[in-house]
């Protein structure tokens, strides 16, 4: 993979809200077409990691480079997928209106979506398998379907880097499969993917690299090398782990 250009460079970076450091000593490189899983317990700083890549939380020490630029200057080519259940399900907005939000940056201020923008929206919904739900209200869809709509919004933005915050939480098998397919397609087109998850099986399945996080970094590298029982135990603070062959199960997060 190293013949591809680096898209994310973490150089002994620490990020902080005000004076309170949240993540320290982040160090690693992600290349074009690679996916990295952020693994760690609740409160480990996974969401903060993603916000730092968006330039929404400042880097106080070291350096983070996204697509060769400081994070805040790379936003045009970065798409962010929030957790669906953080959004108000009563909000009067349709599925296609949500996906169109991914085009706003390209449409620009004071302008209206063009036919080309509408075609991109239809295309993105097709890719997540929800073409038939375009006119439905966002809140009427299931949690997994809403997560797919938010991924479609990111696809419509044509990103070079995709950031997903816990996209598989509470998602049914059908939606999980659709999400994994769509993420795989983006990777094949050369996009880098950063995804936070509790699910080690998904990290194995979908990601080339893993970053173990709990306030600071407990490992960053190829999935097979980093997802070891010892490192996971260190990351999760010694909480019980059960090992079954090459599978590791975290029994308490």
């Amino acid at each position: 993979m190293s013949e591809h250009a680096p898209t994310l460079v973490l150089d002994r970076a620490s990020v902080a809200y005000g004076d309170v450091p949240v993540l320290e000593e982040l160090h690693g490189v992600v290349h074009e077409g690679e996916a990295v899983a952020l693994i760690g317990p609740n409160g480990a700083g996974k969401s903060t990691f993603i916000k730092a890549l968006l330039g929404l939380v400042p880097v106080v020490r070291g350096r983070i480079e996204v697509l060769g630029r400081p994070p805040a200057q790379a936003r045009r080519d970065v798409a962010y997928v929030p957790q669906a259940d953080t959004l108000d399900p009563d909000f009067p907005v349709s599925v296609e209106q949500v996906v169109m939000m991914g085009r706003y940056r390209r449409i620009g201020w004071l302008r209206r979506p063009s036919a080309a923008d509408r075609a991109e929206v239809a295309d993105a919904l097709e890719q997540v398998g929800l073409a038939g739900r375009a006119r439905d209200r966002f809140g009427t869809l299931s949690g997994g379907q809403r997560q797919r709509v938010l991924l479609a919004r990111a696809i419509a933005a044509k990103p070079r880097m995709l950031l997903l915050d816990e996209p598989f939480n509470g998602v049914d098998a059908v939606s999980q499969h659709a999400l994994l397919e769509a993420i795989g397609a983006l990777k094949a087109q050369g996009a880098s993917v950063v995804v936070s998850t509790h699910d080690l099986a998904i990290a194995h399945l979908a990601c080339d690299e893993v970053c173990l996080l709990n306030r600071h970094q407990f490992g960053f590298g190829p999935t097979g090398d980093v997802l070891t029982p010892e490192r996971l135990r260190a990351t999760y603070g010694g909480h019980a782990l059960e090992l079954r062959g090459d599978r590791v199960i975290v029994t308490q997060t």
Partner: protein, 275 residues
């Protein structure tokens, strides 16, 4: 004789203007869950009115300028560590009203003006009030049309808006300022206490009737205009308070829509069970 020389004609025009303005702005207020903020603004602009009365300048200009300060203060405080927007709004509500009361109690001589300010009187609006309301309506509708999609995103998904690099603080300020000038523009007709009815009620009613964003705006505006005109008609027929009549119609229409949708939902569920 000019058509606008008639008190009733002026009242009808004002009713249409505040009905449209309140209805359209109300859609954002409801979607963004800002009714409490809107209520707080009506109270927090009070000291600005009192100061304007003391200085002898236009009451609504005083209220409007003071309200913008309140909006900025609520935004700044609400973004602080460990604070939230609702807390900041509650403090602005009580603090603003208390300051107004203290200022009033230290004075005497303008209680009549202030009574009109609290309950309003659409039959007393002058041509100047009409021009001011029309100017606010045009400005607000233009701003909402131009920034509509960015305001929509910032309302629905603030972190997503920030992730796109949109200036979310400015967008929040723009929306709250729109609500604020709408409150101030609605005050001559309904007064501070009742202005919130015409901003929250028609949009909430429209929201019961449709799930889609685009028809919400004309529907809320139509409901607002209908309630305002009905209120003016009732108050001229039976000589009762106009602002209160308008607010009562808003409440009645919301109640009817609520019952209607509840009954319809029950019938549908029953039909689904039989099927």
């Amino acid at each position: 004789m000019n058509w606008l020389d008639s008190t009733v004609h002026r009242a009808l025009v004002e009713a249409v203007l505040v009905g449209v303005l309140g209805g359209v702005v109300g859609v954002f207020v409801i979607a963004r869950r800002l009714p409490f903020f809107t209520m707080a603004l009506t109270h927090a602009t009070f000291p600005g009115i009192v100061v304007a009365a003391m200085l002898g300048v236009n009451l609504y200009l005083g209220g409007g300028l003071f309200g913008l300060l309140v909006v900025a203060a609520v935004l700044a405080f609400g973004r602080g560590r460990g604070q939230d927007f609702t807390t900041a709004t509650g403090i602005a509500l009580s603090g603003g009203f208390a300051l107004g009361v203290v200022l009033v109690s230290a004075q005497d001589g303008f209680t009549r003006d202030l009574a009109a300010y609290t309950v309003g009187d659409v039959l007393a609006v002058g041509t100047g009030d009409l021009v001011a309301t029309a100017a606010v309506a045009v400005g607000v509708l233009l701003l909402l049309a131009l920034l509509g999609k960015e305001l929509l995103l910032a309302a629905f998904d603030p972190v997503g808006a920030a992730a796109l690099g949109l200036p979310t603080v400015l967008l929040d300020f723009a929306l709250l300022a729109v609500v604020e000038v709408t409150v101030v523009a609605t005050v001559p007709a309904l007064g501070t206490i009742l202005a919130v009815a015409l901003i929250v009620g028609p949009a909430a009613t429209a929201r019961l009737l449709t799930d889609r964003l685009a028809p919400l705006f004309p529907l809320a505006a139509a409901i607002g205009v209908a309630c305002a005109l009905a209120g003016v008609w009732v108050s001229t027929q039976w000589d009762v308070a106009t602002g209160a009549s308008i607010a009562l119609f808003v409440g009645l229409v919301f109640g009817a829509a609520f019952l209607g949708t509840a009954v319809r939902g029950r019938v549908r569920r029953a039909a689904a069970v039989r099927a």
